[in-house]
């Protein structure tokens, strides 16, 4: 009798929307493509839907390499949903994307002065697997809206922001600070989880790949 109650309680607490302080939340995830990062992230990968923030000191710090294996895997699914890029800082270079295994016909670029609105539409529509936005600034209220839209459309929202916003509070479910390795011999970055539901507290060092010499 007592055991069945305990079991019921366990089942209740195992619900994805319940997060208990120290335990790792059970979120639906998919692998990042980096074994070290998978081990450190709650659930063992990027969340399947929700909003994450990637903070970098400058554009070009490796923020795209961090997500590229996941993008390639998601764009190769059948039927694949779309991947939307909102206000990327430069043009994505298609031969390099294709070389990393990204299916180009699932990519959609949006250039706009309303990035938050566009990302909310993309996330909410249910047509996108990932919607990435490069936001100069966004209020916590807007980020909260994006988080809700991502959950509604079952999409992964990615916000690329400057490291300067690291001290600001954010409703995103996962915040990642990415710093490139200054050591020229190694092409990689150090990833620290600023906010996560039970992820690693130590910085994780990632190697992209050896640059062709």
């Amino acid at each position: 009798m007592f055991e069945t109650h305990e079991k019921q309680l366990e089942e209740l607490l195992a619900h994805p929307s319940v997060w208990r302080g120290r335990s790792r939340a059970t979120v639906e995830t998919f692998p990042t493509g980096f074994a070290a990062l998978d081990a450190g992230l709650p659930g063992g990968g990027w969340p399947r839907h929700g909003l994450i923030e990637i903070l970098t000191p400058q554009p070009g710090a490796g923020e795209l390499y961090l997500l590229l294996p996941a993008l390639a895997a998601l764009s190769q699914l059948t039927p694949a949903r779309w991947c939307t890029w909102i206000c990327p800082p430069h043009e994505p270079f298609t031969p390099a994307l294709a070389a990393h295994g990204v299916a180009l016909d699932r990519m959609l670029i949006v250039r706009t002065h309303l990035p938050v609105w566009a990302q909310e539409q993309a996330l909410r529509s249910g047509a996108c697997e990932v919607a990435m936005a490069w936001l100069p600034r966004a209020s916590p209220r807007a980020i909260r809206r994006l988080q809700l839209a991502a959950e509604q459309g079952r999409a992964l929202g990615v916000l690329y922001r400057s490291r300067a916003f690291a001290s600001e509070p954010s409703p995103a479910m996962l915040r990642v600070l990415l710093e490139p390795m200054v050591d020229a011999g190694r092409h990689g970055a150090r990833v620290s989880l600023l906010k996560s539901r039970g992820g690693s507290r130590e910085p994780i060092e990632l190697q992209w790949a050896a640059a062709a010499a």
Partner: protein, 562 residues
């Protein structure tokens, strides 16, 4: 009206072929119980037709009597007030002949086919009008438009006949009689035909020509049984076939005045004297030969407008005022199983010129709710010079809308095919941000980095079967090694400083790999000779830089890794 006429007793047997004695409760449908006449079917050349059960086709013919007069009357908005006898004359001939005459003229002795001179000799104060063939066609097209709501297979039988194949629509409209009644009521309710009190005559027969012939003769005809067709056609006059005048005259000379007498003629002799084409006509009339018709393709557009009670400036209230029009548009599109890809809105003001905005859609759309939400985005960008007094909607050309069932899964659920959401998202974004703001990516088979990629229209079809030549060439181009090319490319290469031949960008750059020479494009004026290097800046970013091989040998930043 012949449509509402009494049915032939045997016709029902063909629609309900089961024997009536199978169940005792079948007495509820007495028409099924009708027993076939005891007499054996008549033997004759048409006895083969008896075996075709049930008929493969059912045709309704509509004949507009006195169409030339109607055309004149409707062109003058029904106000043919002159009491003089009115005739319509075919002016195409050198010797004008009368093709239609009103009751006054006919009472005075004018008959159809008479020359104009002879008619004037009879009635000096005759009002003769030239034939308005264009107007006649407009009237027939109008009638065809009404008929097209009942079946897609509608064709105009020039000049004054209309044919509808309705076999496949019978169940949808709740039976043959229901369908015929609705069709008749729809034609009578049409304002143009009601205004001149013109009533098309309808007939039903298993072959198109038989229905037409009966309609022209003004005969009551509601036949669903190919077997009784010859017997029912027998009394119709020969002229209902509209054969050339010389054939009719020859046949009259042979003593053939009705279709029954025509059917009795021996086939071989008939073909020899009148040609195989006439014999084929006869076979089509009796259903011995297929009679396919070109279906009328209508190029329709939706037009609608609403005058507002008072001037409105608020976008949301304009949208509310547009909603009835959008609902009407949806109804218009749904009955045609079509969608539109362009929609124009015009707003009329008191003094200023009308403002118009056009909505373009990625895929054919018929849903009023979706169109309204797109219009909301579009209107948000629209600046109105003055308050709006009148709104108009004009739909673009109709296009085929793939009919699909709505999805079981909510959007984004696993297992859900994302077919419908993507066009909707693209339209939504484009309605607010403009068409150029949303695009896809494409590879181009090129060595110059700035030409190796291009913007493309997003590919909406999930399985792309036909690939363009360029896409194929790009797909065949070998890919660069993954980390040899940057993920970001600058729109235009940015010049960077150099110090003693070493590039600087926020500090001295460390060259990691290179040079890789790219030299191409001498043929199209955009000649490129560059040595590319992969460099690392002091902050740890990897850059793709190049040095011009000729001229000033300056350094440029062209791409950023990651």
């Amino acid at each position: 009206m012949s449509v509402g006429g009494r049915m032939h007793p045997r016709s029902y047997r063909l629609i309900f072929p089961e024997p009536a004695t199978s169940s005792p409760g079948s007495s509820a449908t007495p028409s099924v119980l009708r027993v076939r006449p005891a007499s054996p079917p008549p033997k004759g050349p048409d006895s083969q037709a008896e075996l075709k059960l049930p008929p493969r086709e059912l045709w309704i013919a509509a004949h507009v009597p006195q169409l030339p007069l109607l055309a004149i009357a409707t062109a003058e908005s029904g106000a043919v007030t002159s009491s003089a006898p009115l005739v319509v004359v075919d002016t195409g001939d050198r010797n004008p002949r009368i093709i239609d005459a009103d009751a006054n003229a006919q009472a005075a002795g004018v008959c159809i086919g008479m020359t104009l001179g002879a008619a004037f000799a009879l009635v000096p104060h005759l009002d003769a009008r030239p034939r308005d063939a264009a107007r006649e066609l407009v009237l027939m097209r109008r009638l065809a438009g009404i008929a097209a709501t009942f079946t897609p297979q509608v064709s105009i039988e020039a000049p004054d006949g209309l044919l509808l194949e309705i076999k496949s629509s019978v169940t949808l409209f709740g039976g043959l009689r229901q369908l015929c009644r609705q069709l008749r009521d729809a034609c009578h309710a049409d304002p143009v035909f009601a205004q001149v009190q013109a009533q098309p005559r309808f007939t039903l027969a298993p072959t198109a020509l038989a229905a037409l012939a009966a309609a022209r003769a003004g005969a009551r005809c509601f036949i669903t049984d190919a077997g009784v067709l010859p017997a029912r056609l027998k009394p119709l006059p020969l002229a209902t076939l509209r054969w050339p005048e010389e054939d009719n005259v020859r046949l009259l000379g042979m003593g053939v005045r009705t279709l029954g007498e025509l059917m009795r003629l021996p086939r071989a002799g008939f073909a020899k004297r009148f040609g195989v084409a006439r014999l084929a006509d006869l076979d089509r009339l009796l259903g011995r030969r297929a009679d396919p018709r070109h279906r009328l393709v209508r190029h329709e557009r939706y037009r609608g407008g609403v005058d507002l009670d008072h001037e409105i400036e608020d976008h949301e209230r304009i949208l509310t005022a547009l909603r009835p029009l959008l609902d009407e548009l949806e109804q218009f599109l749904r009955t045609r199983q079509r969608g539109i890809t362009a929609l124009q809105c015009r707003f009329h003001h008191y003094r200023a010129a009308p403002t118009s905005c056009t909505l373009r859609l990625a895929s054919p759309e018929a849903n009023a709710q979706r169109l309204q939400s797109l219009l909301r985005e579009r209107l948000a960008n629209l600046v109105l010079p003055e308050p709006v007094r009148r709104c108009e909607l004009r739909g673009g050309a109709l296009s085929e809308r793939p009919l699909g069932s709505s999805s079981l899964w909510p959007a984004g659920e696993r297992g859900h095919a994302p077919a419908g959401e993507m066009p909707a998202l693209i339209e939504h974004l484009r309605a607010r941000l403009g068409v150029d703001a949303v695009y896809g990516l494409r590879r181009v088979s090129e060595h110059r980095p700035e030409n190796a990629q291009a913007r493309a229209e997003p590919v909406l079809a999930l399985a792309q079967t036909t690939r363009t030549r360029h896409a194929k060439a790009a797909a065949d181009t070998p890919l660069p090694a993954p980390f040899r090319r940057p993920l970001w490319l600058l729109h235009t290469p940015r010049e960077i400083d150099s110090q003693r031949g070493r590039p600087r960008h926020g500090g001295a750059l460390q060259l990691l790999a290179g040079p890789e020479r790219i030299e191409s494009g001498w043929w199209d004026g955009a000649d490129v000779q560059r040595d590319y290097y992969i460099a690392s800046d002091p902050k740890g970013s990897r850059l793709w830089i190049y040095r011009q091989c000729t001229g000033t040998r300056k350094w440029f930043l062209h791409g950023i890794f990651g």
